[in-house]
């Protein structure tokens, strides 16, 4: 890296370390594979990262308050199963989707209440949530997926507006809204403050418990929204879907430069983190990398990415 002149690009890269990582990975993938840098594939990647990005946007807020949410994968399953049951019963996609998102909010409120007011560590609360929501999803469906090849809900996953897939549009709206909320509102300031120094926040009159409660409710609703997109993509709701989504979301947020210790992080960074993971998966598939090798490569690259991110940031400082 020392060979590079201090051009505008390298300054930009060092200020936004994760952008630099994304740039390097994109470059490597384009060189390794001719079908990577094509419009259909980039649209494809954007659509594939949308679900993880929507979940991770909520996760970013939670992690900035120095919390964590391990229940997102199970909640994707629960919210989509509830929504599909309502759609099957009433024939109304809208009613199903609204109910699904409300279920997400309710589960988030359950998580948030235990974290904010009972003072139980978020890791434990949401670990309990992980098994509880999965269990409820299995109970209400009897363990079998619900398939439905008709209905408006499918446009959430399969539709397109002006050539842009609906999941991508939803992702863009979520990212812009959450960025605005985090950087331009008093609530956003409070979120940073609670994660940075809880005691100081309390003393300066911020209702710490309320802020924590709110980020979990929001996270739950966004997770459910992602569940609705997945349900549309697959034309089905499955009680056993979403396993491991929490790990992808956490990795995404960390790759985006958000600190697990709280108080620091951005939504843009999370978007970049989601694309890093999405491009890795996409590139591995395009190059037909062996499945066993992929597991190792993905882990190594994520570690290197975080190292590079730190290096670029330190250079800036």
């Amino acid at each position: 890296m020392k060979m590079l002149p201090r051009s505008g690009l390298s300054k930009f890269m060092s200020r936004y370390g994760s952008f630099g990582v994304l740039f390097v990975i994109t470059l490597a993938m384009s060189l390794a594979n001719k079908s990577f840098l094509t419009v259909p594939n980039l649209v494809n990647v954007a659509r594939q990262v949308s679900i993880n990005t929507i979940i991770s946007a909520g996760m970013t807020f939670i992690i900035i308050t120095s919390g964590i949410d391990l229940s997102v994968g199970s909640l994707v399953a629960l919210s989509s199963c509830v929504a599909m049951i309502i759609i099957e019963a009433t024939g109304s996609s809208l009613l199903g989707i609204v109910t699904g998102i409300l279920i997400g909010g309710a589960a988030g409120a359950f998580n948030g209440a235990f974290v904010a007011w009972a003072g139980i560590p978020p890791f434990i609360v949401t670990l309990a949530g992980l098994t509880i929501y999965r269990g409820i999803a299995l109970i209400i469906t009897g363990g079998t997926p619900i398939i439905r090849f008709e209905g408006g809900f499918r446009s959430l996953g399969q539709g397109a507006l002006l050539g842009i897939p609906v999941p991508v549009i939803i992702m863009i709206i979520v990212v812009i809204f959450m960025h605005f909320l985090l950087t331009r509102t008093a609530f956003g300031t409070h979120v940073y403050s609670v994660g940075g120094n809880e005691e100081a926040s309390r003393l300066s009159g911020i209702k710490v418990a309320k802020v924590k409660f709110q980020v979990y409710v929001m996270g739950g609703m966004l997770t459910a929204l992602a569940g609705m997109v997945l349900m549309g993509r697959l034309s089905s709701a499955q009680p056993n879907t979403g396993e491991g989504f929490e790990l992808d979301a956490i990795a995404t947020v960390i790759l985006g430069g958000t600190s697990l210790m709280g108080g620091r992080g951005t939504i843009w960074g999370t978007l970049v983190g989601a694309f890093i993971i999405g491009i890795l998966n996409n590139g591995f598939n395009l190059m037909a990398v062996d499945a066993h090798f992929q597991l190792v490569a993905k882990g190594v690259i994520i570690l290197l990415a975080v190292l590079l991110d730190r290096y670029l940031k330190r250079k800036q400082a």
């Binding site: 594939n41 659509r47 398939i147 993509r233 089905s236 598939n285 395009l286 037909a288 499945a291 597991l295």
Partner: protein, 301 residues
């Protein structure tokens, strides 16, 4: 009070002796879990065939817990059973089977092979053979024509997936006309295989078929193909209800149905043969059925 107790003992004695001498021979089937329809169907096959062949049968549901299976089988061994049919929860069932054998009770391992060679017989399907049969079948639909295919494999390291891959790889050299463009994992999961299938179809638009090592991934690949408006033949395995529905609707090209009911039935038939002093096949690998639009009717209930 004392008289009543004595009466009870007498009744119990009478009951045991009548079981010993008059009642039909007793066999036990210890099954991993009947909450999985596959094994529930297998247990039904055992019960139905036992009735036909004149056995009394006790079915013990281990609820997928090896410690419950241990207790179940130990109880059964005190009940003078003639044959033990066992579908092990995991390899923890091996010592159980050996215990029964040591008592002179023949053991039929159903679907889960418990340490081949030690058991009286194994009856079930075999994942290596399943992989072989998939390729033989696909080749038979081609008639020698060249076909480029993609493969979606299961969770890396899962024995079923690795064995199926082993069977596929061993058979492919016999059919040079089948060209595998890429093989990627979909983790046996519908949501996870959707983007993988999309990426592969984008990279290899010339693919004629996607062979998936279970139905969940086949359904994910189906969603990928439809989102990309691609016409591609997709095959699965397991014959899940929604996969069968997709086959009936002409969306899924093929799925493979395993025969749990027949595995149960043959287990009992073998038990009868053994008790009659006949030899049985030590390793009975069951045939599977290839379900397509033509014959899907007989597999849907």
């Amino acid at each position: 009070m004392k008289g009543k107790k004595l009466l009870l003992i007498a009744a119990a004695l009478l009951l045991t002796t009548s079981t010993l001498f008059a009642a039909p021979p007793l066999i036990a089937f210890s099954v991993s879990t009947t909450s999985n329809p596959f094994y529930a169907t297998m247990a039904q096959g055992v019960k139905d065939e036992a009735k036909v062949l004149g056995f009394d049968v006790i079915v013990l549901d281990a609820q997928n817990k090896i410690e419950k299976q241990v207790a179940d089988v130990e109880d059964a061994l005190t009940k003078n059973i003639k044959v033990l049919l066992i579908n092990g929860v995991d390899d923890g069932a091996i010592p159980l089977a050996l215990k029964a054998l040591a008592k002179g009770i023949p053991v039929m391992a159903l679907q889960r092979n418990l340490n081949q060679g030690n058991m009286t017989a194994f009856i079930g399907t075999n994942n290596v053979v399943l992989g072989e049969q998939l390729i033989h079948w696909y080749a038979s639909t081609l008639g020698g024509r060249v076909s480029k295919v993609l493969i979606l494999t299961g969770t890396p390291g899962a024995a079923s997936s690795e064995d199926r891959i082993k069977g596929i790889n061993a058979t492919l050299p016999k059919y040079p006309n089948i060209q595998v463009l890429a093989s990627q994992t979909g983790y046996y999961d519908r949501a996870k295989s959707l983007p993988v299938a999309e990426n592969m179809l984008l990279r290899f638009p010339e693919a004629e078929a996607i062979l998936c090592l279970n139905d969940e991934m086949a359904m994910g690949a189906l969603a990928a193909a439809s989102s990309m408006n691609k016409k591609v033949k997709i095959t699965g395995m397991d014959a899940n209800p929604d996969a069968l529905k997709a086959v009936a609707e002409g969306k899924l090209y093929m799925t493979i149905a395993l025969p749990p009911y027949d595995i149960g039935r043959i287990g009992v038939q073998f038990a009868k043969d053994i008790l009659d002093g006949k030899q049985v096949q030590a390793m009975k690998i069951m045939d599977v059925s290839f379900v397509t639009e033509q014959n899907v009717g007989q597999f849907r209930k």
